[in-house]
């Protein structure tokens, strides 16, 4: 027996790879046609809209998402798919038909299958037309990391999964990034803040073998970690400080929920609890105010209070939003599609949508007292003092007015403007005959009643279960007035069953979402975390794990992480630590010439990624580098100055500008008013907070350049940094420039950079020396002798704060 040499090698190589990877060859690397990888995406994109799960739009009784129907004889007498017989399969005849009347998809859609795509279907049918469950609905089975012979690159199993793929592609991983890059990357990823110069020098000179791990631990323990990772969550929660819609009324205490998130992330509240408290904290036994505050998650929906609207219509829209948010955030499914009709691509019926809807239809909005630390104590002690005075006055009244005192007191207890005619007459008649001391006593009593301390106004926006449950219906075509069948709370049948009693409620739903049997929640959640740390998810479509989404690039790694996440008690910090301490994470992010055409999007992870900071962190970076940043955490939002016309286009125009240190707080504390958001945030792609956002855009626009160059906040930062550099203990230009680089980009300048900036600095110095008015406008209060140099430093600081590197994480 002799094999041609070449193919023998190929087979041998394949065997080697298979054995090296154990049972873990990744789905999208296997030869031949794979249903999940190759076929379902085609059927989903071109066929399911009319031949998929939605019975309402199904044509010819054919559905191609289920093997039994796809392979049975249709009304027309044809059979769409005959396994092993492409020539008898009507599906193939139709997609390849030259006749416009027969061709599928219909010519009116503007779509047709390419020869290559037709071939995929042909091969699949030839090889038996095997259907299988969509990958994300399958149970998670703990994968075994591939046992690779590596050169010491593998630090933990993450690296083994990544390296297996790289070896398969014949690609080496990138080298580890230099220390200053690693520090800045970690600091931005974990805190959303650039490292401070002392941290840079400290880390660069720390020669201990576990310096990196200790750095990771220190950052994970920082209270700013909760801000950074809390903000990620707030995107999903679409948190905002106003109602949206026409009136766009402020929500004065929405921030209590925001602070709950920061705190929960900081204390690493396990993700299952994190889920349960936000969706059903009010239903926990003996729920605390804090647990109820967590349900503020559900209150982030927009509210329409426009005069004349049907409030019921908008109440229902809020529930639809809650279902969609749970779909996108936990399940990675576009459940919202099933509001009006059964889902066209995923096995979610319209009925199932309204079963989920029913869970939330029982939650009423309730604002509860949620006093801040100390607030209640202050109130109680003031109330106690007031009550003591009240008893004293009451006794005195009884002494003076004897039998009339009760009636008098009752009348005086009523606010002057609300007293009845009888009460007024009574008071008048009693006081007419009273002496001056008695009159004075009565007025003192009256005044005192008016001074009764009011309980703390701080109220958390929460939900509470309704006493009398509402009936939920299917809304035909999503129209709330058009009621179909009634439905009871329930979960989609494609997922593991709900464990609940007679009448399932929100707490059951929340527990079901984080049940270890649920294959979606852990996969979706670890994928979110991965995306924040690599700029791209292992499933690139972070919000779609359905058949319209992409398959995972590293399916086994995804599942391994999901299992680890649950094994580590759903600890966000533990999972993040695991990822950060991998070699994969530590690679350089420089684009590799040889991979540009092979892996342009860095799917294989042969390097780290480089991406722009999020809007809030752009502001944070400027404030931090300048030294102006106020690092206080939580509390009411702030209002930076903005031109009047920004808010005046809307109906809620009030914008009371913050003062003092509040001006320098982090971006995430800027009051987010939905109709007229703070412009800088939108310019840098902060989400508009209308619906859940799991993946921010990263645009690159001239308005961003104008903001960094000219916005007063950024200019103030440049002025503060320039002034600090000019006042620095260092005396030479190079030393000062090094300090400037450490503060802005966390590294020392390279000679070419120093040279170029030196030229810029000298030119500006000269120019400002000749134009002292301009120098004065820029540099402010400084002696004449130092003026031009100070202004030149400010101009130089402004250049550094406009560098692409300054607003990127590398």
């Amino acid at each position: 027996m002799s094999f041609p040499r070449q193919s023998f090698h190929a087979v041998w190589l394949l065997c080697l790879l298979l054995s090296a990877a154990g049972m873990t060859v990744q789905a999208d690397e296997s030869p031949g046609v794979d249903f999940s990888r190759d076929v379902r995406p085609l059927l989903s994109q071109y066929c399911y809209a009319c031949h998929g799960p939605d019975e309402g739009s199904r044509q010819a009784g054919l559905r191609l998402d289920r093997a039994d129907v796809a392979m049975s004889v249709l009304e027309s007498g044809q059979t769409a798919i005959v396994p092993g017989q492409p020539q008898s399969s009507e599906l193939l005849a139709r997609v390849s038909s030259p006749d416009p009347d027969l061709q599928m998809p219909p010519t009116s859609t503007g779509h047709s299958l390419s020869a290559e795509q037709q071939n995929v279907l042909r091969k699949w049918i030839e090889s038996g037309a095997k259907f299988d469950d969509h990958w994300s609905f399958r149970p998670i089975v703990a994968p075994v990391p591939p046992p690779l012979n590596d050169s010491g690159w593998i630090r933990n199993p993450i690296d083994a999964f990544v390296l297996a793929k790289l070896q398969h592609e014949g690609v080496q991983p990138s080298p580890e990034a230099d220390r200053s890059t690693l520090l800045r990357r970690l600091s931005l990823d974990l805190l959303g803040l650039p490292p401070q110069p002392a941290e840079v020098t400290g880390f660069l000179s720390d020669n201990s073998p576990d310096a990196y791990e200790r750095l990771v631990d220190r950052l994970l323990a920082s209270p700013h970690f909760g801000e950074r990772w809390g903000r990620h969550w707030l995107d999903l929660a679409h948190y905002a400080d106003s109602d949206g819609y026409l009136g766009d009324t402020f929500r004065d205490y929405a921030w209590l929920y925001r602070d709950w998130v920061i705190d929960a992330v900081n204390r690493d509240l396990p993700f299952d609890q994190f889920t349960i408290q936000q969706l059903a904290g009010d239903l926990l036994p003996n729920a605390t105010v804090k647990e109820k505050t967590a349900t503020g998650f559900l209150r982030n929906t927009m509210r329409n209070t426009e005069a004349g609207v049907d409030l019921e219509e908008y109440r229902l829209k809020e529930i639809v939003d809650r279902v969609s948010t749970v779909g996108v955030g936990w399940l990675g499914l576009s459940l919202g599609c099933a509001e009006c009709h059964s889902h066209k691509f995923d096995p979610i019926s319209q009925r199932e949508f309204y079963q989920l809807f029913a869970f939330f239809n029982d939650a009423d909005d309730v604002d509860i007292h949620a006093p801040l630390p100390g607030e209640l104590e202050t109130y109680q002690s003031r109330l106690a003092a007031w009550t003591a005075d009240q008893s004293r006055l009451q006794m005195e009244l009884t002494k003076v007015f004897a039998s009339d005192s009760d009636a008098l007191r009752t009348a005086l207890n009523v606010d002057t403007k609300k007293r009845s005619a009888e009460q007024k007459t009574l008071i008048e008649s009693l006081l007419k005959n009273a002496d001056e001391a008695a009159s004075q006593l009565a007025s003192e009593y009256e005044r005192h009643v008016g001074q009764k301390p009011t309980p703390p106004a701080t109220k958390a926006m929460t939900v509470a279960r309704r006493e009398a449950p509402r009936t939920s219906w299917i809304h035909v075509r999503g129209d709330y007035r058009n009621r179909g069948e009634d439905v009871r709370p329930g979960t989609p049948s494609v997922l593991p069953p709900l464990v609940a009693g007679e009448s399932p409620h929100r707490l059951d739903l929340a527990r079901w979402l984080v049940d270890p049997q649920n294959p979606l929640t852990p996969r979706v959640t670890v994928n979110h975390m991965w995306k924040h740390l690599f700029g791209r998810g292992l499933v690139a479509t972070v919000d779609n794990f359905g058949s319209g989404g992409e398959a995972p690039s590293h399916p086994e790694l995804l599942d391994w992480l999901a299992i680890e996440f649950m094994n580590r008690g759903w600890s966000r910090k533990a999972l993040i630590r695991l990822i950060l301490t991998s070699s994969t994470y530590r690679q350089t992010s420089a684009v590799r010439e040889e991979l540009i055409s092979r892996d342009p999007l860095n799917v294989w992870l042969a390097r780290q990624s480089r991406f722009r900071l999020e809007a809030e962190n752009v502001r944070d970076a400027a404030l931090a580098a300048s030294g102006l940043l106020n690092r206080s955490i939580g509390g009411p939002g702030i209002r930076p100055p903005q031109p009047d016309y920004v808010a005046s286009i809307s109906r809620n125009t009030e914008w009371k500008v913050s003062t003092g240190p509040d001006l320098y707080r982090r971006g995430m504390y800027i009051v987010f008013r939905r109709a007229t958001p703070y412009p800088m945030l939108l310019t840098f792609d902060a989400p508009d907070s209308t619906v859940a956002c799991t993946a921010r855009e990263r645009s690159n626009s001239p308005l961003q350049a104008l903001t960094l160059l000219n916005d007063p906040v950024f200019l103030e930062c440049a002025a503060a940094l320039g002034t600090a550099l000019h006042n620095s203990q260092h005396s030479t230009f190079d030393e000062r420039l090094t300090e400037a680089f450490l503060r802005t980009v966390g590294r020392v300048p390279q000679p070419a950079e120093a040279l170029r900036l030196n030229r810029f600095f000298q030119d500006r110095w000269q120019q400002f020396a000749a134009d002292s008015q301009a120098a004065r406008e820029l540099a402010g209060d400084v002696s004449e002798a130092n003026l031009a140099e100070r202004a030149a430093w400010i101009a130089t600081a402004r250049v550094l704060m406009n560098l692409d590197e300054f607003i990127n994480r590398e």
Binding site: V309, D688, T690, L703, A779
Partner: protein, 502 residues
């Protein structure tokens, strides 16, 4: 170069690879990139493919040859009364004071009217036949009337929403729920920019009472913020942060941008990330915008004749009180003139917004006032575009979220002081002109009291589909993937109104 269907956004890996191989870069952007890169000693083939993501500052080919290359979208928030402006109803005048038949009232909702005691209300307006086509419009619009032969008036518009913001969102973003990209953003996304110095989508706002939802009507929603309408002010610095800070003169600004870009180039050599090229371009565009935008709002180059035609120096008549406020004649006229200057400079979409036309009371007085404000400048804009040869490929739209009721508004339940009309979604009028629109025609018809559409109904989504079609875009193919789903301006609806086309 053909660009097949659907989404322009960075697509899933497999598609991306395919698109790259089949030439995902448009000819123009590829050429510009190549020249930029040569300056930096980098060959295009060296670059990561993320460069293939379209550059929003460059034009992109439409789905098919566009009739309109740009659009001026005049949005008069609040719901101008169609019976008093565009849709003559002698029968309504005859029935003035009569109740509406129960059959019509049974299934309707109003924002404020008390159905039981509501009475039909005629109009005091006189309708005039304008132009050679003899299009009937109210005596409140003599100037726009003089452009009748260029107008396509649609009297059979209808919508699903009878409250302002939902109606406005449906009209301007295709969905009554906030968060979707606006029409202008979709156009900017689909067609790119023709201007190298100005944004693709600019909005000019005459604020008046305040626009419900603020910037939602020109927001990019889930599209990248690059496609948002950039609000230009008619006076002062036209764009936020456009002016250099005090102490930074043009020379310092130029030198600073040069230094920034030089350092970015040094960094590009190291990290090879194409996004850096985008950043360098953005700084250059920002700098050009800093001179182009003030030049735009500087009207000193306009003749006195032009300024007078737009009515920039009119005396605003006194009015006791006005919903939209006072002092708006000059800014509105200026915005109309700026709209012409913007399209002249290649801006793709100009939104001209004004609020409010929400005349629940004092309709006669306040509608007359608003028309005095708007009629002359809008007509001047149409004529100006025409005389400059721009009207043939510039689409101009007059639009609002709905119309008003043929019933008088008896909010208090008494008929004594009925002076206005309530919101009316079932029938209203809008018009279009220019870019591929057949002028001098009326589309659709309402019943004899302007209550419902009697012939050729045009839904909001139909209008949107038609506008996209005029601009060379197929509304079913212009999509963007968000939350796992391909979104369209027209959702799953919309039929192009063929009758509109010339």
């Amino acid at each position: 170069m053909t660009r097949h269907a659907q989404s322009l956004q960075p697509s899933p890996t497999s598609l991306m690879r395919r698109r790259f191989l089949t030439g995902g870069l448009t000819g123009a952007s590829a050429a510009v990139l190549a020249s930029l890169l040569e300056q930096d000693g980098i060959r295009a083939s060296d670059l990561p493919q993320s460069v293939g993501r379209h550059d929003p500052t460059l034009p992109r080919p439409a789905h098919f040859a566009p009739k309109a290359k740009r659009i001026i979208y005049i949005y008069l928030e609040g719901g101008p009364s169609q019976m008093d402006l565009f849709d003559p109803k002698p029968e309504l005048n005859r029935l003035d004071g009569q109740p509406l038949p129960d059959s019509l009232l049974a299934n309707v909702r109003f924002a404020f009217i008390k159905k039981e005691s509501a009475r039909l209300m005629g109009t005091p307006r006189r309708f005039v036949r304008y132009g050679q086509c003899g299009m009937e419009m109210s005596d409140l619009l003599p100037h726009i009337g003089s452009c009748a032969d260029d107008l396509c008036l649609i009297r059979s518009m209808h919508t699903d929403q009878f409250n302002h913001l939902p109606g406005q969102l449906l009209m301007n973003t295709g969905s009554a729920v906030a968060g979707r990209p606006s029409l202008g953003s979709w156009l900017a996304y689909g067609l790119g920019s023709e201007s190298r110095d100005l944004p693709a989508f600019v909005t000019l706002v005459t604020v008046g009472r305040g626009i419900p939802g603020g910037s939602a009507s020109w927001s990019s929603g889930f599209l990248p913020s690059t496609y948002s309408g950039t609000q230009f002010r008619s006076t002062g610095a036209p764009v936020l942060n456009l002016d250099n800070p005090n102490g930074i003169d043009a020379m310092t600004q130029r030198a600073s941008i040069d230094a920034v870009n030089d350092l970015n180039r040094l960094h590009l050599n190291e990290v090879r990330d194409a996004e850096l090229i985008g950043r360098i371009n953005a700084y250059e565009l920002a700098f050009r915008m800093q001179s182009a935008a003030p030049e735009l709002t500087d009207l000193s180059g306009e003749t006195q004749e032009t300024l007078d035609a737009y009515g920039l120096n009119r005396t605003e008549p006194d009015i006791k009180s006005n919903l939209g406020g006072k002092g708006l004649f000059e800014p509105f006229a200026r915005n109309c003139l700026l709209a012409r200057r913007l399209v002249e400079r290649g801006v793709r979409v100009v939104g001209v917004f004004h609020s409010s036309w929400d005349h629940h009371s004092a309709l006669d007085v306040q509608l007359r006032h608003n028309c005095l404000m708007a009629d002359q400048p809008i007509a001047a804009l149409l004529k100006d575009l025409k005389s400059r040869g721009l009207l043939e490929d510039t689409l101009v739209v007059w639009n609002s979220e709905f119309g008003r009721t043929p019933l008088g508004e008896n909010r208090t339940g008494e008929n004594s002081r009925v002076t206005g009309r309530d919101h009316h979604p079932y029938a209203f009028s809008i018009w279009m002109a220019g870019g591929g629109v057949k002028g001098g025609q009326v589309i659709g018809e309402t019943d004899e009291i302007a209550w419902g559409v009697a012939r050729d109904p045009v839904h909001v989504h139909d209008l949107q589909a038609t506008i996209l079609q005029l601009c060379g875009l197929d509304h079913t193919r212009l999509t963007y993937r968000f939350q796992g789903r391909d979104f369209r301006l027209t959702d799953v609806h919309g039929h192009v109104v063929q009758q509109v086309f010339s």
